[in-house]
């Protein structure tokens, strides 16, 4: 609470908010959530393809972050640290739903048919959310982390626990599907 007295929340840097939140300052954590909720929810919405589920997972991830905030070594590492929590929360939810991430099912995602969908002809700029909705859960996860969050294949392997070959395949196939959708537009 001593930290809170010295902290003007609206003007505080993210690092200062994180340090205060690590000292169990709920107001500082609330401000941190305000600043980061857009990014966190957008990330999970891209991965989930379901806004309500994504928001539930974002809430779960923020509460886990509050519980584990003391484990965060430096405030600068917060985005990567929180992203890992969000991805783990997403994966746990999908595992509860018995989603399969490691199999690459050719039959369920025929690339040839993508260009003929009405969504594909929507416009020259990618409607990202609609396009991502056409990918499998695993493809969406890997494409979002690779292209959206700028993670390397190795970092995705480290974060998701999927084999490297599977990650590469999901990124490649997901990207190829999105490209075909754009070409058709």
């Amino acid at each position: 609470m001593a930290t809170r007295a010295l902290l003007n929340l609206a003007e505080a840097t993210e690092a200062a908010l994180i340090v205060a939140a690590q000292a169990r300052d709920q107001a500082a954590f609330g401000e941190l959530v305000k600043r980061r909720q857009g990014w966190a929810r957008a990330l999970l919405r891209k991965m989930c393809n379901n806004h309500a589920e994504a928001d539930d997972l974002a809430q779960e991830a923020f509460i886990k972050a509050w519980d584990r905030l003391r484990d965060l070594e430096t405030p600068a590492a917060f985005p990567g640290w929180f992203r890992r929590i969000a991805v783990t929360t997403f994966l746990m939810a999908k595992r509860r739903q018995k989603a399969v991430f490691e199999e690459i099912d050719e039959a369920l995602s025929p690339l040839a048919d993508e260009s003929s969908t009405p969504e594909a002809a929507a416009g020259a700029k990618i409607d990202l959310e609609k396009a991502l909705a056409r990918l499998s859960d695993a493809e969406r996860l890997c494409v979002t982390l690779n292209h959206g969050e700028g993670l390397s294949h190795g970092e995705i392997v480290d974060m998701t626990g999927l084999p490297l070959g599977t990650v590469k395949s999901h990124v490649l196939r997901g990207t190829e599907k999105l490209r075909r959708m754009l070409e058709a537009a």
């Binding site: 709920q26 954590f29 609330g30 959530v33 305000k34 857009g38 957008a42 700029k125 990207t175 754009l182």
Partner: protein, 128 residues
């Protein structure tokens, strides 16, 4: 493909982020409830440890009350015997001292073991 990757990255970067439609307030409520629950659990834990400490203290006190006269008597006897042994012949008296020391130390060891056991149980409860 590289152009497309660049377009894809740009599309991700430019994608709209959801506005805060009460989401952060929901989190704040959830965190506050969680903290209140944690504080309650912490208070209950402290109270339970206090009760357990009192129980251990009472048990130790009762044990000491029961054994103290015997221990004091043994100690007095030891001192008397040791004094007597030192005053008389070395070989036979020395054996007597060892025997009576062993007998007198038994309750002391028993109490020490009980206290050590209590301390271990307390530490295990704290770690758990």
């Amino acid at each position: 493909m590289n152009d497309f990757n660049a377009l894809l990255k740009r599309s991700f970067a430019e994608a709209d982020e959801p506005v805060d439609d009460g989401f952060s307030v929901k989190i704040a409520h959830a965190v506050a409830q969680r903290e209140a629950g944690a504080q309650m659990r912490s208070r209950l834990y402290v109270a339970a440890m206090g009760v357990a400490g009192l129980a251990v203290f009472y048990a130790a006190y009762a044990l000491a009350s029961a054994l103290a006269p015997q221990v004091l008597a043994s100690a007095g006897l030891e001192i008397a015997q040791a004094y007597g042994a030192l005053a008389s012949g070395p070989s036979v008296a020395g054996q007597g001292v060892m025997h009576s020391l062993a007998a007198g130390l038994t309750p002391l060891l028993f109490i020490t073991a009980a206290m050590a056991g209590g301390a271990v149980a307390y530490r295990a409860a704290q770690q758990g």
